[in-house]
Each structure stands twice: as C-alpha cells, then as structure tokens.
Symmetry: C2
Subunit: 395 residues, 2 copies
C-alpha cells in the first residue's frame, strides 16, 4: 500500500534525505552561476591606499591653512604609480583620480578651483575644504580580514568582480552532482528523427530538464534513453549508480503494466522515501536514496509538464517569489495544483499572473506561452482573483 503524502511533506523529506555533494574548487573565468561554499575575506584594507577621488592638486593641509594660495607643481601622480613624498611642503603634486595620495599631503583641490600656468597652481576659487575631503581613505570600505562574501552567496556579476578584486581566482563552490537524466519508454525516438511514426514521440523531456539544471550551475549533466525492459533498466542502474550522484528518471513510475522502475529500484537496494504525492500534475512522483552508492534517485512522471514542474518544485533552488492571480481558478480535488501562468509585470511593483491551465496532461506545447507556475494549496478549491500564491519562474 502506497502512502500518498502532501507536497510540503515531500519537500521536507527531500531536503532531509538529499546528500550534500560537498564542494569543488573552480577558477574565475569558468566560475559559472553556482553558489559560493566558503566565506571570502579581504586580503588587505580597501582601498589599499589613501586614494584620490578628483583630478587636481595634492598639498599639505598646514600650508594651505597658513594662507598660501600659489603652489609650484613638483610633478604628476597617476593611478598605478608609487606615491612620492612631498619633501617641500610649500609645493604640490598634480594628482589624477585613482592615484595614491602623495605622502605628506592631506588636501586635494580639484582642477575647477585652479589655474595652472608655468608649472604653478593658483587657487582661483577657494572653498572651505576639509582635510581628506576628496580622498577615499585607506581601509574605509573594509579593513583587512573582513568577511565580504558569505558561504551561500550566489555567484552573480558583482560577486565575480569582488572575487577578482580580492585576488580570489580559485574559490570553493557548492559542488553540483554528476547527473544523468534517463528517459524511459518504447515510444521515444531521438529528437533528430525527422519522420517518426505517428505512434512515436521524440525524446524531449530530458532536454527541458537539462536546460533548467544547466542554468542553475549543474555542469555535469548527461542524457540517455532506455526502453521499458526490466533487465536493461537494472543493468543500466547498476553502472549508473556508481557513475552518478543523481539519477533523474522520466516515465515508468506510474502503475501501468510497463512501469517497472519502482520495483527495480527496490531490488537494487534503493531505499524508497516517496512514491506518490497529493499533487496535480505529478502524482506518481518517486524519490529514494541508494545508501550504498550515495546516489539520489528521482522518478518523475513521463509527461513533460509534470516532470518540469516536479524538478522546479523539489530539486532546483531558485529564488522564492509570490504572485497575485489575475483571474479566479477552480480546482476541486484535495490535491495541490500547480498552475502554469503568464507573468505580467506592473509599474506598481506587483507580480501578477494569468492562469494558463493546460488542456490535459499531455499538452506541452501550451507551455510556450507561460513564464512559470503557481502552487495552489490542497486545502482550497476556489482561488479568487487577487489572492497571492508561491510562484516558480521557469529556469
């Protein structure tokens, strides 16, 4: 007797049982978009010098305070040059934005307040400047050794920039599992088949799942196809459980005559944690762990909509959003309903979604006009326009 569990219970079981898969070290140019797995600290103070923030001249504060307004220019300091010392405090240096402040200088006066003739700077528009006013003080953004990025940070574009600026060209990231997507079914032919029989379908599910995984940084995903033959399925499993950390099957988990997978997995020693979930689509959803090989096994339904929804709901770790229904929707059964939707972005900063229910479980083409799906809880059967539910954008 199979125990049908709720979506929430299924998600908890998976979160608890799924192995961690550890970390791996990647280098900056091929870092991808995964998750940082170590805290990152500053290697030195930032900025590392007293950094000039305006083009102009740098001079000693005391000299300026004494009333002097004309300063011989000793030279020019550009970014990337070691800061010279102001040995004669009656003089100044020209300084460029980004340069290190010359030693012995505390005041920067911008060009717009100056006239420079014959290597001499004249202050023509004095203002009530303060010491270090146009100086980005050494260490003012962060001292050396400060944690700037925490483990768990998403590797987006600013993070790449921060890692490079800190000299962290090799960092530990959350290791993505070696993954194989296995489509089962005798009706499937390769996608390049140009003239399938009417009773044949091209292999398509695994490409949709692979695209979603790749976008989340899964960098070792392979695809295969197996026929519904118990022995071939078992032979494949024995090798695959050694070669992969994560096996995602599509099809063969229902209770049809040719749905051999759940029995095969049990025979191969996979501990079953989930077989059916109170959800539509995707009720026959199987999850187990092969503790001997530390391999996680997902059995997703064969229909493309179900498998893609289950992958987003139970495996991918995208951001959590909530969206507001633009029109009411009814679903009378005591199941969580995953409703495909079209997103409307409003200038009022709201995420509004328009229901695009599929005509039936096989209607995958209709997904072309959707942006994701919302999760409608099992406890209700009528969902009013204006109510807000959890929204999963397609990866």
């Amino acid at each position: 007797m199979v125990n049908v569990i709720s979506v929430e219970t299924a998600a908890e079981i998976i979160a608890e049982k799924l192995p961690g898969w550890g970390t791996e070290t990647l280098s900056l140019p091929t870092l991808g978009g995964g998750i940082l797995a170590e805290p990152i600290r500053t290697d030195r103070p930032y900025p590392p010098v007293e950094r000039v923030m305006m083009d102009g001249i740098a001079l000693a504060w005391d000299t300026y305070q004494s009333g002097q307004r004309v300063f011989p220019v000793l030279g020019t300091v550009a970014p990337g040059e070691p800061p010279p010392s102001l040995t004669d405090t009656r003089c100044c240096f020209e300084v460029m934005t980004g340069a290190a402040l010359p030693l012995g200088c505390e005041l920067v006066i911008p060009y717009e307040n100056l006239e420079i003739k014959n290597a001499t700077a004249h202050v023509i528009r004095p203002e009530p400047w303060q010491p270090y006013q146009f100086v980005h003080r050494c260490g003012s953004d962060a001292p050396a050794g400060k944690i700037i990025l925490s483990a768990g940070a998403k590797l987006n574009s600013p993070v790449w920039g921060i890692l490079a600026s800190l000299g962290q060209i090799r960092v530990a990231v959350k290791r993505r599992p070696r993954t194989q997507i296995i489509a089962t079914g005798n009706e499937l032919v390769p996608p390049e088949e140009q003239a399938p029989q009417a009773y044949q379908l091209r292999l398509s599910n695994p490409y949709a799942l692979a695209a979603a995984l790749q976008r989340q940084g899964y960098n070792r995903v392979s695809i295969t196809h197996l026929r519904d033959e118990p022995r071939a399925l078992a032979d494949h499993y024995r090798q695959a459980s050694k070669d992969y950390d994560l096996l995602i099957y599509c099809g063969g988990v229902s209770k049809g005559k040719f749905d051999y997978l759940p029995q095969m997995w049990r025979e191969q020693g996979v501990q079953q944690y989930i077989h059916e979930v109170a959800q539509r689509p995707g009720k026959p959803f199987w999850f187990g762990i092969d503790h001997q090989h530390q391999t996680a096994v997902f059995g997703l339904p064969g229909n493309p909509l179900s498998s893609l929804i289950c992958l987003h709901r139970y495996l991918l770790d995208g951001p959590t959003f909530y969206a507001r229904l633009a029109s009411p929707f009814r679903f009378d059964q005591p199941l969580t309903y995953f409703l495909p939707v079209k997103l409307e972005v409003t200038t009022a900063a709201e995420l509004i979604v328009h229901p695009r229910p599929p005509q039936n479980s096989g209607d995958f083409l209709a997904l072309a006009e959707t942006d994701g799906f919302v999760e409608l809880p099992a406890e209700k059967s009528y969902f009013e326009a204006g109510e807000c539910y959890r929204y999963f954008p397609w990866s």
Copy 2:
C-alpha cells in the same frame, strides 16, 4: 563642448545605432539561454495519434452502447506500438497510458471500473462514459504547421523541450556579438597577483562584466588589459575593430590627463554618439560606432559600480521590473540616480527594495549585499518610501 544628454536619450540613441549582429544556428545540447530568431511550427498534428490517457481497455462505442459488458481481450497495446485494428468488434484491447488508440475503438474504460480474468474484461462499475473521453484527440493541441514559438522567445527550459519534441535540433538564434572587454589603467595587475603594491588594483571589472554577458548568452567574450599609452591603445584598436563586433572599454573615458580613449576613437574613425550622460554613477559614458568595421564601441567608466550599472542599463536586455522603495531616499542633483538595492520578496506579491547607497564611487565591496539597482529619475530629488521605480536585477 560635450553635450550632456539624459538617460532616456542615451538609451534611445543606443537602441537606434547598435547593429543587429544577425543570427546564427545552434544545436540543441549547446543551445544556451539566448533568444530564438525564427518562428517554429509544428511538423505534424499534436498529439500525432489518438492517444490513450488512462490504463484500461479500448473497445467499439457501438458495442458498448448495445449493452455488452464482457469483452474478450485480444492483446495489449503499449506506448510506441503501432495501433492494431479491432477486427472483431465484440472484443477489446488492453491499452496503456500513452498508447495509440487501436483502430475501430472509440471508448476507453479505466482499470478501476474493470475486473480482468482469463483474458476477459468485465465492466463491474459502469459510468456514463462518452466516446473518446479518455483519449487525447489527434491534433487537439495543435494542427500541423501551426506557429508554436515566435522569433524573440527566450530559450528557457520549456522551450528547449518544445524544440526537441518538434524535431528542431538546430535553430536560428539571435547571434551574440564577438565581444572584447578592455580594461585600461596602469594601476591594474592580473587578478592572480597575490601581493600587489598598495597603489595597484587587481583587474576585476572585466570579470564582473563578462559574468553578466555570459548569463545573457554572450558566448564569445574575451578580456584584455591595456596600459594608458596612446600608441598601444590605437594599435590594439586597429586590430580589435576587425576581430570583434563589440568593444567594451572600462576606464579612460573621463577628462583626466590620461584619458586618451575618446580622442583615439575619433582619430580611428569611430563616430561618437554619446560622451556624457546626466546620471550618477557613470556620467562619463561614451558610445560610438565604427561604421567602416561595423564595430560598436562602449566606453564605460573605470569604477566597477558605474561600469556594471551602465552595462545593465544600456546593453543587456533583461526583463523589466518595477520595485517599491522600502525607505525614502534623497538625491538633490539634476541627474538620474542609479541606487543599489537589496530585494525583499513579500507574500503579498510585491517587490520591495531597500536602498544600499555606496559610500563613494569606489565602494564596490558593498555590492556584495545588493540584488540590483533602481533608476531614480532626474526630475525629482526626494523619493518617498512606497514609490515604485524601474528595477534592474544583477545578471
């Protein structure tokens, strides 16, 4: 005299002048996440057969209507098998979900209403079934030749699945330009440099920009670094303008003594369309086209925050969002202000953003705690909590 233009005018000029870069053909496994450049049609009706949607038996409607309730089973039809003909209308076939409906059958009765013994099916729980009730009718999702995906569709996971199911393993996508990111500045050392001088900075901008471009499907992005030397910059440009469609410079576009780029570009025949934009950060923002080589040239400011914001605002084509300010913000100058923010997702389906203004133009580390930026228009100087503005998430 340089003409300072508004953010809106700058965006219009870029949209108008930027070349299209054409299309290229990519194959399914390496399709990436770009933009489809051709409409995609169904190659045949979908579903391509009368497809069974329940495990059970299939039989002739007229026979069932005549009152017969016991049917000898002629055989079983599984998915992927050619549909047999029901030559004896007093009999039935067992059919599996996904199988083609046997010819001569119009009614499917699910297992739960049946008892099957000795190759004979007994209807034990009759219901008021209709012809084709559990049949996904041939062509009901789409006829052959229907446009399913339009040019401009984003290549997300459902789209990958649809392309595979239609046998479209090679498709035209928007060609991404051959791109080089060129950081200029004598203060820059490679990111792998472990002990830079205090007055040196590691090359970091180009990695942030490359990450953002890669996420949007730019698959040919290289990075280089040049010193602030007019002749070296010109020599590099002459070759790069032939090798690349898009050159993105960071630094050297301001009006400092060592900002040689705008003059060099003009000397090399690049037509300048934008030099300064009324925005902060990023006022010195340069854009031009080398019409001889059909090369687009962006000159972004050298500071990392400015260059990343300008890339998102003017070049990337991410989704448009609006977000609501969680707290007020003041900016008194007549410039568009790009304000880094932290996103808060609420169960009320709102995008709320918390201002995280940088302490100064060089404070890049603070971006670690931001999710993107909002665009605050130049016409206002006080922005109230609760007001909504355009929001750009970091790529």
